[in-house]
């Protein structure tokens, strides 16, 4: 059923992979906690894309349903995460992750 307007699945997968990797890299190199958190969201988005892509590939809607759950989780995480970040900011007066290293060794 491949038509002229078809796009090979791997393209989507690669795209999602790139997003995911960008997220990981962001986690590794960003200093600002909020940005780090955003890069996690980026990773999730990447995953979402591959979910949808696979869904299309298998002709299974469940793949799309997963995306909702992921979003919900992302939302919940966002709420909690930002609350935590606020709490940390209260006690530390900083958002630089390199300075949040009270606990070590």
């Amino acid at each position: 059923m491949t038509s002229v307007t078809a796009i090979p699945l791997p393209y989507y997968l690669i795209l999602s992979g790139i997003l995911f990797v960008c997220g990981v890299l962001g986690f590794l190199i960003k200093r600002n906690i909020i940005t780090i958190f955003m890069s996690i969201e980026l990773m999730l988005n990447g995953v979402n894309l591959s979910f949808v892509a696979f869904a299309a590939h298998w002709h299974m809607l469940s793949g799309q349903v997963f995306v909702f759950f992921v979003m919900v989780v992302a939302a919940a995480e966002a709420a909690v995460g930002l609350a935590i970040i606020i709490a940390v900011y209260r006690t530390r007066e900083t958002l630089n992750v390199d300075q949040v290293n009270l606990l070590k060794l």
Binding site: F20, W58, F66, R90, T91
Partner: protein, 511 residues
């Protein structure tokens, strides 16, 4: 979850879907009970006078946990799948339900005094424990990766929050942050793995995945997927090299909560790992687990040698124990499963107990958690110190304690699978491990007490918690037979192996 009550009718009218039967609700009864009590707590909390609320709330939470424990019994009555094969009730899930719920019950008990001393908001605390337990329970019974993912998130997020509950200490919020960020990071890996397995097999149902992997050649994606899922789960069970978060988080988090998260979510995560590795006969897992086990044992034990903070020390020890547990995963499934399950139980017993004691000694703001503070506790709290000693002995793995049999089963399973070297690494590690547990005992008994360390009286609740753990540890150390039997049956059930053909059985009967 309140929606559930009126939902079936609605479904029936709108989209002609046969609603779940009553028995299917029974199969998630513990979860329902827990959520119900959680909600009750949330409702009751504002109504109560803040000064005294923590007692009554704790009572409610405890009742809820016990009720859930009872309900697992009902749940166990009719095994089977529920909610369109989302959850499965079988020996395996029942086993972990009981374990997890019991853990949170004891932790709730142990938190009684802690609440009072640390001046923590009781409502959310207990509520989160109960809701978190829901997540853990679902992790053990879910056979659908998406549900597993959500359950995992529930238990994780609740523990992220609980870790940050000592809000006057910067350490607590920091540990919360670290746990949260790294946790989500790892979860993303897990999720990516799920996506790939979905892509590889077109399903996220454990059974379907298993069957499709079993039929024909395993697609490449599946390997990658397994790898990614292992990263996520390995992080949750704190196995090297994904253990890095453990010491910091444990050090910062409230002691009873450490007791919880070093056992409850861990046990649940191991349950998931068992399903993923064994029920889906995960391809190419052996060396992954082997190396991870060896690394965890070694890093954990070596890292603990020089720790002066008890919580941190126990954190490293928990890494090491995760390693021992993973040894079981390298063994043949039918041997390894039961060994691993038994290990989770006995580890829970001794570790929760240890942390209960630690949380009492810690006192306001957990000021007294270094080895120096433990000097001479044998004189001040003979009984409590003796209890802690017993737990530590169990952690070392000396006979008549659950810890011994746990190690014992794991290693004999490994040996029966001819994993001689891993076993040797393991026993050597347990020998090294003896040293740092011994340091604590030495401190308590062989040093003079420090005058400046206050010793408040031990409240009944703490006693009860410690006693429960003590009895459990001792029972597992003297008569492990029954629990092991249960574990074996459950494991066989999960692996869809019929009883009479298992090597485990021959072992059990001996010659």
């Amino acid at each position: 979850m309140t929606a559930i009550t009126h939902l079936p009718a609605l479904l029936a009218q709108t989209l002609a879907i046969t609603p779940p039967t009553g028995s299917e609700y029974i199969r998630i009864l513990p979860e329902l009970v827990l959520s119900f009590f959680g909600i009750v707590i949330m409702i009751v909390d504002p109504l109560l006078d803040e000064d005294r609320s923590h007692k009554s709330l704790g009572a409610i939470a405890l009742i809820g946990a016990l009720a859930a424990l009872v309900s697992t019994f009902f749940m166990a009555q009719d095994p089977g799948n529920a909610f369109w094969n989302m959850v499965r009730v079988e020996g395996f899930s029942v086993f972990f339900h009981a374990l997890v719920i019991a853990i949170s019950a004891v932790v709730i008990l142990a938190s009684y005094e802690y609440m009072a001393v640390q001046r923590i908001r009781a409502g959310e605390y207990y509520g989160l424990i109960l809701f978190g337990t829901v997540g853990m329970c679902l992790m053990s019974s879910a056979v659908e990766l998406v549900l597993i993912f959500i359950a995992l998130e529930i238990s994780s997020i609740s523990t992220y929050i609980l870790a940050g509950f000592r809000r006057r200490e910067a350490a607590s919020s920091e540990s919360s942050l670290k746990y949260f960020l790294l946790g989500s990071f790892a979860t993303a890996f897990f999720l990516y793995g799920v996506a790939m397995i979905f892509g590889a097999t077109g399903s996220t149902n454990i059974d379907k995945i298993a069957s499709s992997l079993a039929s024909g050649s395993v697609p490449m994606l599946a390997y990658v997927a397994m790898g990614l899922m292992f990263v996520g789960l390995g992080f949750k069970v704190a196995s090297a090299p994904f253990h890095v978060w453990t010491p910091d988080v444990y050090e910062g988090a409230p002691a009873p909560i450490v007791g919880l998260m070093s056992t409850g979510p861990k046990a649940a995560a191991f349950a998931v790992l068992l399903r993923v590795m064994f029920e889906i006969n995960a391809p190419g897992r052996f060396w992954l687990l082997w190396v991870s086990a060896a690394l965890s044992m070694t890093i954990g034990n070596l890292g603990a040698l020089v720790q002066d903070n008890i919580k941190r020390l126990l954190a490293y020890s928990s890494i090491a124990h995760a390693g021992y547990l993973l040894v079981a995963f390298t063994a043949q499934p039918e041997l390894g499963t039961s060994a691993a399950m038994f290990y989770t139980v006995s580890y829970a017993a001794m570790n929760v107990g240890a942390f209960a004691v630690v949380s009492h000694f810690g006192n306001v703001g957990e000021k007294y958690v270094t080895l120096e503070d433990y000097a001479g506790l044998g004189k001040r709290y003979p009984a409590l110190a003796a209890a802690l000693t017993f737990f530590l002995i169990s952690l070392i793995g000396i006979p008549i304690t659950g810890g011994f049999f746990a190690k014992f089963y794991v290693f004999s399973a490994a040996l029966q699978s001819d994993l001689v070297w891993l076993t040797i690494i393991g026993v050597l590690n347990s020998a090294i491990g003896a040293y740092y547990y011994l340091r604590v005992i030495v401190m308590m008994y062989m040093r003079e007490p420090r005058a400046d360390v206050p010793c408040p009286p031990v409240p009944a609740a703490t006693w009860l918690a410690v006693a429960v753990c003590l009895i459990a540890t001792f029972y597992l150390g003297v008569l492990p037979g029954r629990v092991l039997r249960k574990a074996t049956d459950a494991g066989m059930g999960m692996l869809h192996i019929s009883q009479n053909t298992t090597p485990g059985a021959t072992v059990a009967s001996g010659q």
